[in-house]
Subunit: 418 residues, 2 copies
């Protein structure tokens, strides 16, 4: 008998019929003898509806009150799922984040979990009840309701699994696993049976939206086996684990991630003196703009140019900040470009194999794709290219690194066929 | 500087625009220097929407989970109102029933308040903040969410006022006070400036829906001055108080209440032996059917007949129970009638004046209205008549007892003109 934590996202509980289907899945698992803690999100659309209400009533809604408001989304779902389970003869009890005592810091709208009290959950499990827990929410030390930020339900699931020492944390979603790349772009994309935490982290941070980054970090840190699988289809999904096998046996490249949400900013012709990067990026960071890829090059004339990417929505804001610094920096020009895309090869196999980067660059060159920026880590190579070449580049690399499978069949995500 | 508890019902917070209007009212009162605790209901329609969801997912929703579900209704309102107040520059903080620690018993869906912890409210008031509290909800000793049952927000308001020793508990609603009778029936109905708790209780229990009975009982018990007033119009409303003035100065009749929600059941020709009433009404009560007016008469032939009223929706059920008892009771017939109405004169002035009853019966007789049942208390006389004579009877008595005012003007409830 195992202890499983299952997490169902907004789409999986998006209607009464779907909540009932989740109840059937949970009851069947319970009937197999497993102890179950089920974490649910708000019904799809509900969180957005509540946030829209907040913005109707206030231009700058109080962060504390926003948490009070949006946390009702999951509270509705836990009640409905617990009702459906009880109606199906499966004893269940719902808990809000505050009722479990998922203690967080006080950073409203983006709180971090500090501690979870598991005594009442253990008592319920011992009494044969399924515990239905609200994802995404907690309380701080003063009893204020907090939320973990978008996608935080994954984190709740992993944190509960860690606190309870669960055998597996299963993240049910609308895709049936982690793919070598987005099947909407590459129809030969394949579901991965296994992937390491590190690879998953790189995939997630590079735009693969299957799992929230923080949840993966958390799972890696506490060594919680994490499985991504579909609410709507049968199948083993993808298991995300510590890699205790020999890296040599791993494929060179596990997957290709990409994203079009970024824009590029270049500061040209700055005198090359110490502290330039800080003087440019400090004010950007002070304005709460997140910077992703950064490259700096020195020119022959003793000047330097620095290029970095930010979220596309923040390009204008960042550009204004840089313009205001231009004279101080002695820069000759500030150039923004929002027609770029980021593309990354990810794989722990890269650690022990040289030549992946040059093979990647060669493939892109063969297809006439110019590389604007390069950034590497131990298990990842990222390039920034012109946006219109993105699909071409992804397909070429997917094929080059032997990731192509048979045509994606029924196992592929629904969205791939939308 | 006073401490006021204000309660706004579902219609008063039924839209973003109305919540904003409540925020303006509250902020204006705060600017006058008063300390304010504001209790709100769910936005109108929201509780019904949530209950409908529950019944979609389960035929018999778990009472515990139903409370988890419907309590989100007020949680949405407190957050939105607190946001609107903060946006208007009026510091505010919202609290769910659980956060305040409104401790109740564990009777889900109809819990009773046992204790309220006021420390955090006092701290907020001392810090100059408006406290926005969710009505209708609390938690039990184990931390389970409970609700007080329909209309329970009034009770929350009164209980908070009692616990805090507030100067007044103001119930804002869609009518501008308590009227001598329903202005939809009598256009000369007048708003009462004052009414006693006892009168209000009798009015409420006889069908005047302005206030929840339990809230009035609570206010009377803890001597909390209670004021009913309109969210949508200016005006002093009606103050409900202990009557410390001489009863002699009170008008004979304060108001006329009526209701058409009842049906009458008569058990005829039962042998007149001790225990008859119990043998008839015991099984009715066991079936959770509430009985209102009861009269029993003895006939000359040694038999007796007992007549009582129940909610109209429960007549058929009660009739079936009586039919099943008929042989045991030795009754000659069971007769049901759902074309009746109940009409009551209410007034503390009756205590010291004889002849009110005969004057009432005479007036009804003058208008050809037959009285089917009579029941009296110290401050109330109730009759049951044929439903079609109800309006005629109410108007005749309203005029007879000097309650007619000038034609109801702008102060009358909106519904009166609907």
């Amino acid at each position: 008998m195992s202890l499983l934590v299952q997490k169902y996202g907004g789409t999986s509980v998006g209607s009464i019929e779907r909540i009932r289907a989740v109840a059937r899945k949970v009851a069947a698992e319970r009937a197999r003898g497993h102890d179950l803690v089920v974490v649910v999100s708000a019904m799809s659309g509900e969180t957005n509806r509540l946030i829209a209400l907040a913005h109707e009533i206030a231009e700058h809604p109080s962060p504390r009150e926003l948490d009070v408001l949006v946390s009702t989304g999951e509270q509705v779902t836990i009640a409905l799922l617990a009702m459906a389970l009880e109606e199906a003869g499966c004893p269940a009890r719902s808990y809000t984040g505050g009722q479990i005592r998922i203690l967080t810091d006080s950073a409203h709208n983006k709180a971090r979990i500090e501690h979870i009290e598991v005594a009442s959950i253990r008592a319920d499990l011992a009494a044969g009840r399924v515990v239905v827990a609200a994802g995404f929410q907690g309380i701080d030390a003063e009893g204020n309701i907090t939320t973990l930020g978008r996608g935080g339900s994954d984190t709740t699931g992993v944190a509960l699994a860690a606190a309870l020492g669960a055998d597996e944390c299963q993240i049910y979603t609308d895709v049936d696993g982690v793919y070598t790349t987005d099947p909407r772009v590459v129809e030969h994309a394949q579901r991965l049976d296994r992937i390491t935490f590190e690879e998953m982290l790189e995939m997630a941070s590079q735009g693969s939206k299957v799992l929230q980054i923080r949840a993966v970090e958390f799972a890696g840190k506490y060594q919680v086996p994490l499985r991504v699988l579909s609410s709507f289809a049968e199948g083993p999904g993808t298991l995300i684990t510590l890699d205790d096998e020999d890296d040599m046996e791993k494929p060179l490249v596990s997957g290709i991630a990409f994203n079009r949400d970024e824009a590029k900013l270049t500061v040209l012709g700055v005198p090359d003196v110490p502290g330039v990067a800080y003087r440019i990026l400090g004010p950007i960071s002070d304005a709460n703009i997140e910077v992703d890829v950064i490259v700096q090059n020195v020119a022959e004339d003793g000047t330097t140019s620095l290029t970095f990417t930010v979220h596309r929505n923040e390009m204008k804001k960042a550009q204004r900040i840089l313009e205001s610094l231009r004279t101080d920096l002695g820069a000759t020009a500030i150039v923004g470009d929002d027609h770029i895309a980021k593309l990354s090869l990810v794989g722990v196999g890269m650690r022990s194999h040289a030549g992946v980067a040059s093979r990647m660059f060669g493939t892109l060159a063969d297809h006439g794709i110019n590389i604007q920026m390069i950034s590497t880590s131990e298990i990842k190579i990222t390039v920034v290219i012109e946006e219109k070449y993105l699909e071409l580049g992804v397909r070429a690399l997917h094929s080059e690194f032997g990731l192509d499978g048979p045509l994606a069949g029924t196992g592929a995500p629904d969205t791939a066929r939308a």
